[in-house]
Symmetry: D2
Subunit: 290 residues, 4 copies
């Protein structure tokens, strides 16, 4: 799934979804062809052949795409709107702008910064925001701005307002890379971009705080991590990716946390990569990952 | 972990557990040596170096073990009782007697029967009990007796009494290989032998009925299975083994059930093998698996 | 990948491959639409965006497909031949006919028979052929004909001739489910249908005989199995599927073989399922698996 | 296996190996008890119950171990030498000194530096040596000395002499974290400490150079990495750890290398951790990993 991860010039991604009906794939592919696009990859899925929802992702190459984009958008509007279909067209040569929010644990943060430096994440990182300062030096050594926004006491509204001011207009999505403060509904309503979280358990097992302690108490033989979009319902948002690691009776709760850190950074990295590549479509409380 | 799975003549397994204290391993190994035993494998574990619980499993060879067993037991009693340690000594040449209870799904049942026929489970299978009849012919083709005990209506007491009559005195443990009736507390109190269940989810996620449907609704990216000892608290007993398989948005709830069947049969088989080899020690609501 | 595994009436599978060029996907999907087909799934792949080879698999529903098939084939011929593309159109309501050849080991054989009985393999099984007799009773208990063709001595030509007589005209592909005789080039030339093998190692490691013994000698920490199409070059044919299992220093070569059996049956079953669903396209010494 | 990874004061590790015979475990545990040690973990293994080789690892706590060590060594010598057993006793409070050698790829190097900073590797890192300079700044940001030793042309003897001068007396083992120069037999003879390598394939598949290219050509469905001790026979030394990742036809050779990097860093890290904890015993061309 991680192919073609570098921003490609003259490459576009089209997402189409809506009520399933015969001929959508043919209509979309004909549209791309008549607009001089050449299909690179095409994925489609219908959740129910009878009366279900249809999802399609097409990546195509088109010389001078930036110039042709408005014409293609007009054609899409004319062709797909009568069918009740929604669509999004993105220019793959423009990387998404990703903010990272973090508390004290650095394992997810450093993994994202390092993968980005290796050219494996098609994003820019305009800022890292933390309610602590311990990661500042590491972040800046990657050439990324670091902003410290303390968040103490029960009232988070001042801190959230400061964070919103930093984010707004500057980022296309936010990643909570072990940010240990709960964001208010008000913040989520105002931020206006997708927020991706990493939860340190195999959701829905061990919802809430201290999942490794709970996993140890329950005596599980596998621990997991889950990356999901953040919604108002804590730990209940659409799941993007999950994975697990094997543990035994001999692991303490602290051992589970140490081992789990490696699962967390891998799961969050994959979720971020797929989101940045427009591979993830939200549908109700589910995701389609192409 | 699956080594030496055939019943071995003149081979014994000693389990020791109790409060940790210096010198237990030395005391136990000296005891085995002075009783002419030769240690084949030794595993030990302490859950807390300070004031914790100690667990040890030793397999040893001893010529004419059956004759020497009473003397060794007397020595164990004399040596370990003053230290407050409990112990169990078993003759590995005598396979445990395992009953299988099943409803209509045959995947776990056939896997156990087939592994047994291959000589990979050190047990005998005196009976399969089912509340349905569809598996009768398959079971008998393996040379194993099949008993049909219907269980309809809300009152299961007559069926449970009939099952108890079949089991008592005849088996050393019971395996619920997708037996879809809930056993009463009364049954569990009377059966007097360990009961192992396979639950078709990654516990504690999706406790209760219809876990694959719930997993599909939640949009998980992995499904799992859990084998555990049955206790009065449904789906809450000590976990022996767990595993998972990867799924995608494209799998229906029925697809999850199909794919999950392969996880279930593997997880249950490993749990049964380890139990039959005296590798699993229960401690509170946990297991130590050596 | 294992979705829609039951033969579906009025469902067809179209495979297209050949030199990549702009507009193929649009041309194919337009063709299906004008022939009243509704696309269920579509996968495509190009091995090189510049001058590479193009591969596409489309499953579509079309009322009265059996009647319309000749017209669709004529349209395909007219549309795709000028582009230098090859195509295959199959009626998914007609299961492929699969012969199984086996020696003494029953684990792969029984797994295939059992998955078939569960309705998980879209095939019919007109025969099992073995150079031994130990599996005859099991095979016939599944309602499948069993033929014994002994193969002793260095000259296999008489045995191969007898096998060819049984197979020809009666099967669409052959599965070697641990058949331990090497088939001659002459046999492979004459059999005229794909032959799928399971090799008990992670190819290309441990090519040839006794791979588990070699793996044990080398001290590997993982063992594997590989399913591949059989070609004249022993153990060198296109790989369909591979998987591994973890082992330790404590496993003997016999333990590796026992543990490996579970990997073999899973890998071969997946390869057979995907082949039967027309998901596997051969290209040189590679496979594209959609 | 990764428990108790921090250097522990007053904790010792005893490795015993040699010809198997009855009573070794009892003799060793009695010795530890009479020397006031308390066993923390004990692992043992015999490769053949009849005339095989015996291996044991015991970690024990002993107040004032550093003071008592000579007495315990004398007792070990007196007790085990008559039995023909070899032994090594190490003070777990003294971390091993690890040199890292690297060329241009940073993924294994940074993973080791980062795990060390997290306190997850019980080593000190007195130096990183590279035949390139691109990683110098990163290495020094971790507070680790970096030495540049260019190695051009066919004659490596000057470079190897310079490396030996840096290493000798200063390190307990060397890790080749994607060091792309072949070390001479002479170097290996002189270095006098274990050298651990990461090979970017599932050995023995794809021995030698460019394994990802070869894997792509062969069309494998899994790629792997292998960490092993370096011996005179290139890619033939005792394997410590291996792992794999799933790939498809859609991955280019470059994609395999990218994905493989994540397997390499995990496999090498585990091998290094286990070696540093005295968990790995070499025996012929195999390892026993406790």
């Amino acid at each position: 799934m991680s192919l073609h991860i570098q921003p490609m010039s003259d490459q576009a991604c089209l997402i189409v979804h809506g009520p399933d009906q015969p001929g959508i794939v043919a209509a979309v592919t004909a549209l791309i062809t008549r607009n001089k696009g050449n299909i690179v990859t095409l994925d489609q899925y219908t959740d129910d052949p009878v009366g279900g929802a249809f999802f399609q992702r097409v990546v195509f190459q088109r010389p001078d795409f930036a110039v042709a984009m408005p014409d293609i958008e007009a054609d899409l509007d004319k062709t797909l709107s009568p069918l009740g279909l929604e669509w999004t067209l993105t220019d793959q040569s423009i990387p998404k702008r990703m903010a990272i929010m973090v508390s004290t644990s650095d394992h997810c943060l450093l993994e994202l910064l390092w993968r980005h430096r290796r050219g494996e994440l098609p994003v820019t990182i305009p800022m890292v925001i933390s309610n602590h300062t311990n990661t500042a030096e590491d972040v800046r050594s990657f050439g990324v701005p670091f902003f410290h926004v303390p968040s103490q006491g029960p009232d988070k509204s001042a801190a959230e307002a400061e964070i919103l001011k930093l984010l707004q207009g500057n980022v296309d999505f936010v990643v909570l890379a072990r940010y240990m403060q709960i964001l208010s509904d008000d913040f989520l309503a105002k931020v206006g971009v997708p927020v991706i979280n990493i939860h340190h358990s195999f959701l829905p097992a061990f919802i809430g705080a201290a999942p490794y302690r709970k996993a140890h108490e329950r005596g599980v033989k596998l621990i997991g991590a889950t990356s999901h979009y953040v919604t108002k319902d804590l730990d209940e948002g659409p799941i993007i990716e999950q994975d697990v690691a094997r543990v035994t009776h001999a692991h303490s709760a602290a051992d589970l946390a140490k081992r789990g850190a490696y699962v967390e950074r891998a799961v969050l990295s994959r979720a971020v990569e797929w989101h940045a590549q427009d591979r993830v479509i939200r549908h109700g409380n589910h995701t389609i990952v192409f």
